[in-house]
């Protein structure tokens, strides 16, 4: 018992020293030039995004963004979807380890939790510059909720999700592993509930045959896990470069099992997508028109080159061929997937609206497909979101020194709870 006391108090004083101001500053200074360059680029993107967003906020989004009454949702919505999907995926895949107990996934846990918080915050940032009255959102979501609204459920549940993930991260930092597990579990539940509601935002609109159906909520969850795997592999590799530590041992094994989950999820998504398209092509006029726009029409290049090739086929091939050891293939496969998935979201959001609501009336005003291209302001806000993830990730790697504290996590694996210090005297 006395031995345990020493270990606990040792860990306690380690943590206090770790968080001393001087210690934090020491971890951020004297780093390599590459780190500062990447940090500078990310910070510049974030600043540009904030500037563009604030400018648009004052001018009025309707006057400066390219969204219209016929196409009210554009690249900002698809980017928001990208970020929250990645966040949920990070939470779900990492939960296989530290919530559901699979040892091999544990090394990637803390970084994934941190990244899931970052990506959802980036999503909220992009959403702030999309909804015209963001302040109203905070006030009236609470005062005047609508329980039939998927948007309300999604917003509320993502708030809860952010809360639980935050608690989990703090617990992981303080090495309160049992509490972290409970918080992580609640994060998974709220994440799945929130994320399937996000899918249902699209899937419950009968006016939009490209989206309508039970498919969207299910597809979003599977797609989240797919993106989560890519994000974990990519960011784990980036962290190894930042910390100048080779990616090997249990961490490499964790990347390998993540890769395997990724392969499975790519296959699931390929299956879903193929049947969604086949079924859509025999649907009503408006539905057919939308799917034709995607596979042979104006969005065909987006679909085949970015969604299929970059987003699904190349990552699948690279992941399989890497056999879990070839880092080059793993990283390029992940980059390709993340790039392709961004276009998957964009096509999903835009193609769902480019067939006008009055398409089947056969009127002169709506003879064919509508069009949408993002404005410069919207693109800058998107880059701002990416910059936010970049800056906070780079800062986090150094401030939280994830790799160092992971060692403590492994030590305490066999004792998941920190028992209260027993005074044996």
């Amino acid at each position: 018992m006395a031995e345990n006391n020493t270990k606990v108090t040792q860990a306690g004083s380690d943590i206090r020293m770790f968080w001393a101001w001087q210690s934090i500053v020491a971890r951020l200074t004297g780093l390599g030039k590459t780190f500062y360059i990447w940090f500078g680029i990310s910070a510049a993107l974030l600043a540009a995004g904030l500037a563009a967003g604030m400018h648009a906020f004052f001018v009025g989004y309707g006057h400066i963004y390219n969204v219209t009454r016929e196409v009210p949702w554009g690249i900002l919505i698809s980017t928001y979807v990208s970020f929250v999907v990645t966040s949920t995926g990070l939470c779900l895949v990492s939960s296989i380890g530290h919530v559901f107990g699979s040892r091999e996934f544990m090394p990637i846990a803390k970084r994934s939790v941190y990244l899931s918080i970052l990506t959802i915050m980036a999503g909220f940032l992009v959403m702030f510059f999309e909804t015209e009255n963001p302040v109203n959102m905070v006030v009236y979501n609470v005062l005047s909720p609508n329980f039939t609204s998927n948007i309300w459920w999604m917003g509320t549940l993502y708030g809860a999700y952010l809360f639980f993930m935050g608690i989990e991260f703090v617990c992981l930092q303080l090495e309160r592993h049992k509490l972290a597990t409970y918080a992580g579990f609640l994060g998974v539940i709220s994440g799945i509930a929130a994320h399937s509601n996000l899918g249902a935002v699209f899937g419950m609109l009968t006016a939009r045959p490209f989206w309508y159906g039970p498919y969207m909520p299910i597809y979003f969850i599977a797609s989240a896990m797919m993106s989560g795997c890519a994000a974990i592999i990519l960011f784990t590799w980036m962290a190894s470069k930042i910390n100048r530590e080779p990616l090997e041992g249990t961490m490499l094994r964790a990347v390998d099992v993540t890769r395997q989950v990724g392969i499975l999820m790519i296959c699931v998504i390929m299956f879903f997508s193929a049947w969604k398209i086949i079924a859509g092509l025999v649907g009503g006029e408006a539905e057919r028109e939308a799917f034709l726009a995607l596979i042979t029409g104006p969005y065909a290049f987006n679909f085949w080159a970015f969604e299929v090739l970059a987003g699904m086929v190349a990552p699948l091939v690279l992941y399989v061929m890497s056999r879990g050891t070839n880092l080059n293939m793993l990283v390029w496969g992940s980059i390709s997937m993340i790039f392709g998935i961004f276009f998957m979201r964009y096509d999903l959001v835009v193609v769902g609206q480019i067939v006008p609501a009055q398409f089947e009336m056969g009127v002169n005003e709506y003879p064919g497909l509508l069009s949408y291209t993002p404005s410069a302001h919207e693109i800058l806000v998107v880059l701002g979101g990416i910059g936010m993830v970049g800056t906070l990730f780079l800062l986090g790697e150094k401030i939280f020194a994830a790799h160092r504290v992971e060692e403590h996590a492994h030590e305490h694996e066999s004792r998941p709870a920190l028992e209260p210090v027993q005074q044996s005297e």
Binding site: P72, E132, N146, S149, W152, A207, G362, P367, L369
Partner: protein, 251 residues
């Protein structure tokens, strides 16, 4: 009429495959309407639906007990696209130039015998199962319990535009001046609540193409036309299941 944001250039009649598909579709639609069916829709007079969908003819009135149950009937063949209704609406309800609460769509069928063109006024259908009301996170849009009008409470609107995406009729738009989504409210705020009997568009129409009335009142023209099965009366996009309250006919 011109609609902002539509790229006509991509779909000029010069593209032969576009034109023949359009023509075929338009002609087919006219033909099917005459024979009483509508591509993607059905004959939708309330009495036929009442017999089919509800236990008794009173069941519809029980489920939608609005008094008055405001609705509109539009005689498509009478509209001449003079656009006085659009002007009256914009003036009465302070609709900005970049938006509209009601519009007139034009359908052409150059190869048809007889009438080759018609104008179709469209507006918010004040649905009985409004997808916008279901989707709004803050109940900023809601269906008035007394008269069935789907209304906006601008102060609660967060501008997420889910209602704009959800509407099958493209009836909504974001009004930058009000900082909220705006749409037709059957002139409730500007006319009906002040004792006037008709909407601005109905009053302005010289051809009596728009008829406004109480769907639950047997003496109203809207009631009479909707509750008969000889002349075809239909709604736009019935397959969405929203049960609209704007009906279309010719006569």
């Amino acid at each position: 009429m011109k609609i902002n944001g539509i790229e006509f250039d991509e779909n000029t009649p010069e593209k032969p495959d576009m034109l023949s598909r359009m023509e075929r579709r338009a002609f087919l639609k006219l033909g099917l309407a005459v024979t009483g069916a509508f591509a993607g829709g059905t004959i939708l007079s309330l009495s036929s639906i009442a017999g089919r969908a509800f236990a008794s003819p009173d069941a519809h009135a029980k489920q939608y007990p609005y008094k008055p149950h405001y609705s509109m009937l539009i005689y498509q063949n009478r509209c001449i696209d003079c656009e006085r209704c659009l002007e009256a609406c914009a003036k009465t309800n302070h609709v900005p130039k970049y938006g509209y609460r009601t519009a007139i769509l034009e359908r052409e069928a150059p190869k048809s015998t007889g009438l080759k063109r018609e104008f179709i006024p469209v507006l918010c259908n004040h649905c009985n199962r409004p997808p916008c009301v279901r989707a709004c996170p803050t109940t900023a849009t809601y269906k008035n319990e007394k008269n069935g009008i789907v209304m906006m409470e601008s102060k609660k609107c967060i501008g997420c535009k889910t209602c704009v995406a959800a509407c099958p009729y493209n009836a909504r738009y974001f009004n930058e001046e009000r900082k909220a989504v705006d749409k037709c409210d059957f002139c409730f705020a500007t006319r009906l609540s002040k004792g006037m009997k008709d909407t601005a568009c109905v009053e302005a129409c010289p051809a009596k193409a728009r008829v406004f009335g109480d769907l639950s009142d047997p003496s109203s023209e809207v009631y009479r036309m909707v509750h008969q099965i000889e002349k075809t009366v239909w709604v736009i996009r019935p397959e969405t299941g929203v049960a609209p309250n704007v009906f279309y006919t010719r006569g």
